[in-house]
Subunit: 501 residues, 2 copies
């Protein structure tokens, strides 16, 4: 058995090495690669991904999994071996179910669609991509079909991001959330709007980067196992548990952009850095779901990073970093500025309160598209109606409407957006549980001490990697299944106070 | 045949992709990787290299080579196909001849030796590595044995770096070179020494980097297909013909360090950037030998970069970049400073005239070690004697003697040093030929125009990649086989004038 287990681990590590190498090639492409490297880089990535896929579907790997299964069963489902075999088999089975011909056909379609979108978006030309999007819907259904039977056609797509989550339960959660958020946005936007002009002065890039990274480090992002670079779109990536990197972008006329993106990505990175090092080079060494990942980034970005206690402590330091710009701006005005709520059209620029409405709207469209109730060509019209109903604003163009997000033009339709709302819900539920366990947390955060919070997150969430499902982690860490109550409670308390509701 | 050729190219491209991906992992390790990434990175590199080796020794590749060989023969040895098949077969045969057990045993021994050297060097403790070095000599002989029969045991090791070069011919060239250089160094060091204090003022890093890179671009280094980053040791690496990068290191109290390292590495990079783009992703898309590579870096660093015509044009711009430091230093004094010759102990700090003597000494030791005429344990003693005889200086410690270079502690003994002297010889022979073809070159260099020289190098040297051997390239470009005359003539003219000999 030991020899089989060693052989299994060697194969899994080899697969992991190929995936991590591909991630580095992608990071380099986004950070430092000169433009001349583009053509070859695409081919190199395809080669690494093909070999990684071949290794995962190699019958030898499946045989080794069979061989160690009796031992895994003896040691029990909660043992390291039990979890390893379960998660590895999930990956192997999934890779095996999708025919190579589909993978390659979808890769081609995806590249064509993405390319068309990059031209259609600036031209506000939805018609140019409507046909491609219709085909994406069809291929998304086809992909789901490989995993039949299912309860809902979106389930296998959701499973890719959030294993265990079902369309039916997400639908129920999101309907509840929407029912409460629409009137909340309405009430807030009737109140006097917050003024965020103080964030839109000239803020030099180097100082912005230094301040954000210093905050991230104070939260607990370990730069001996990470670093920050600049990219067009911020992201987190990792090449091992000892090398978890973030990127950010800086706008010199918008202090919030780089700062909150750094705190957000640092939240993702701290999750990966907190995973049990014993899982290194196995499929367990990874965040367990996109939703859980998003809960960690949102928690540090919003529940901590946009909170009053945090800025009571940190604002004097921010003022010291930007004395000319913020020296005369009181804490209260700054706090209101970074929490300004408005009837927004663009998801990525939207605030905490409207954000989930943007997401739920997309989730509902995904289901309607997959169910055949909405045709791709009718999306712009449906988008305008729903935006008006939920957000109280109608996009004047599709650029601010159904063309704004890359997701459906660079991947499947289905499973692309729910994660963000899930992450919001989890973030507040975790934070409440941490405060219940450690009532001193708000005072510590005000004092610039984050160790208690981070340790609670590591012990209850991060350390498990993929050895526990998101649902298991939420229940064990918070004592409850996932619900909308903590997040809605958080929003009502915070924004009720801010807008005097 | 077309299908076979396509299949062959696909396999070669896949091998190339893996090798290039590994190169990026190594570049990242030297530039940006946080220290926490080290352990996993070693394993990831080993995985990529093992898979690359497996692909190269896959019987399917050898069969495809056999299948296209008749067509290659029909098209002739100078056709693209003829060259491709020849070079690919060289790589395949070489990979096949070395048993996997040896590769893995040597990798382990090499890692152990390197690790021991990193501790023995600062401690000046040669005894701690003598046994490991003796084993390296033995394993170097064993490696050579896989390629028996040979004329000299060092030949297969030299072949790794400089295909076609033989110990016997290198020995003859180097003996001639040494015979002339020893008295030249002697005569120069009797003359009044040059003063290089002007180079050892405070030079801010950013300005140094900017000036060096600007010069490299003016030479012709294309930043749309390259970039420069900082590393502990400067190097050139590439990930495709469209992505050829250099690194440098900066000492803020030594203007020469970053500047000449940038010009040197840019010379390497321009060679790779000049290779026929049609060779991309084949084994032809690579410099043809280490010696030829070194000739290109030395040519730009020394024959251009340390020449009087170049600085007649460029020195005012350097003064403008560093007015406080160089405003009062005349061109002549600066030119003498960057060409200061001294009886040096350390190869990497040595000047153009003594450099080859450092290298020839190591080459001779390699042969004696491999021939069993010198025992590893007796190296320190032999080193001291030879340094005194050739350079007129005895290293007070082994740190300045036989422990100074990493090469023998991170690879084979044999084939490690000859390349530098070969590159020196070639650099002058190419430059003379370019000037013979374009007598206006020195005037152009003074005017800051490098296009004619670069075009001559691209057309006569770079474009061929591995499709021509170094020997073929030297003969075709210069009309002569390689000889010591051009390089010795260059040194005598330049340093005769500088030191009034």
């Amino acid at each position: 058995m030991t020899a089989d287990l060693d052989a299994l681990k060697t194969r899994l590590a080899e697969h992991n090495d190929l995936v991590m190498a591909a991630a580095l090639l992608r990071w380099d492409q986004a950070t430092y690669m000169p433009e001349g490297g583009n053509a070859a880089r695409g081919r190199q990535l395809a080669t690494l991904e093909r070999i990684a896929h071949d290794r995962l579907t190699d019958p030898g790997l499946a045989r080794l999994l069979d061989k160690v299964t009796p031992a895994a069963e003896r040691e029990g489902p909660d043992s390291f071996l039990g979890r390893l075999v379960k998660v590895a088999r999930t990956d192997v089975d999934r890779a095996a179910k999708v025919p190579a011909a589909f993978v390659s056909a979808f890769a081609n379609h995806r590249a064509e669609t993405y390319d068309a979108w990059t031209r259609a978006r600036p031209a506000n030309d939805f018609a140019a991509v409507a046909g491609l999007l219709a085909k994406t819907v069809e291929m998304s259904r086809e992909y789901a079909g490989f995993f039949a039977p299912y309860e809902h056609v979106a389930d296998p797509l959701i499973e890719l991001a959030d294993p265990g989550a079902l369309t039916s339960s997400l639908r129920a959660l999101f309907a509840e959330l929407r029912r409460e958020l629409v009137p909340l946005v309405d009430a807030i936007t009737r109140a006097a709007p917050a003024d965020d002009a103080c964030l839109h002065q000239a803020f030099p890039e180097a100082e912005q980067l230094a301040f954000g990274l210093q905050m991230a480090q104070q939260f607990g992002y370990d730069l001996a196992r990470g670093r920050q670079d600049k990219t067009h779109h911020p992201f987190m990536t990792k090449f091992s548990l000892g090398d978890v990197r973030i990127t950010t972008r800086v706008r010199t006329n918008d202090l919030a952009c780089a700062l909150f993106s750094t705190l957000h990505e640092a939240g993702h990175a701290m999750y990966e850095q907190g995973i049990d090092r014993a899982y290194e080079a196995t499929p367990l060494a990874e965040g367990t779901s996109y939703g859980l990942h998003e809960s960690q980034s949102r928690l540090w970005e919003n529940l901590v990073g946009r909170s009053l206690p945090f800025w009571k402590g940190a604002y004097p330091r921010l003022q010291a970093a930007f004395p000319a710009q913020l020296g005369g701006v009181p804490l209260d005005a700054f706090y209101r500025a970074i929490n300004r709520v408005e009837r927004s059209l663009v998801r990525t620029d939207s605030d905490e309160v409207t954000y989930s409405l943007h997401v739920i709207m997309r989730f509902d469209f995904e289901l309607e598209l997959l169910e055949g109730k909405l045709a791709a060509k009718d999306l712009p019209e449906a988008w305008r109606a729903r935006a008006q109903a939920d957000l109280g604003a109608t996009p004047p163009t599709d650029v601010d409407g159904c063309l704004q997000d890359v997701h459906w033009f660079d991947g499947f339709v289905g499973g692309a957006f729910h994660t963000y709302a899930l992450g919001n819900l989890m973030s507040a539920q975790f934070f409440d549980a941490a405060v219940a366990a450690h009532p001193e947390l708000p005072a510590e955060i005000e004092a610039g001490r984050f160790q208690t919070l981070r340790t609670w997150l590591v012990d209850n969430v991060h350390v498990h990697g993929r050895a526990r499902s998101a649902d298991e982690i939420v229940r064990a860490a918070t004592g409850q299944p996932l619900s909308t109550a903590p997040y809605l409670g958080y929003l009502r308390r915070k924004y009720g106070a801010l807008y005097g509701l």
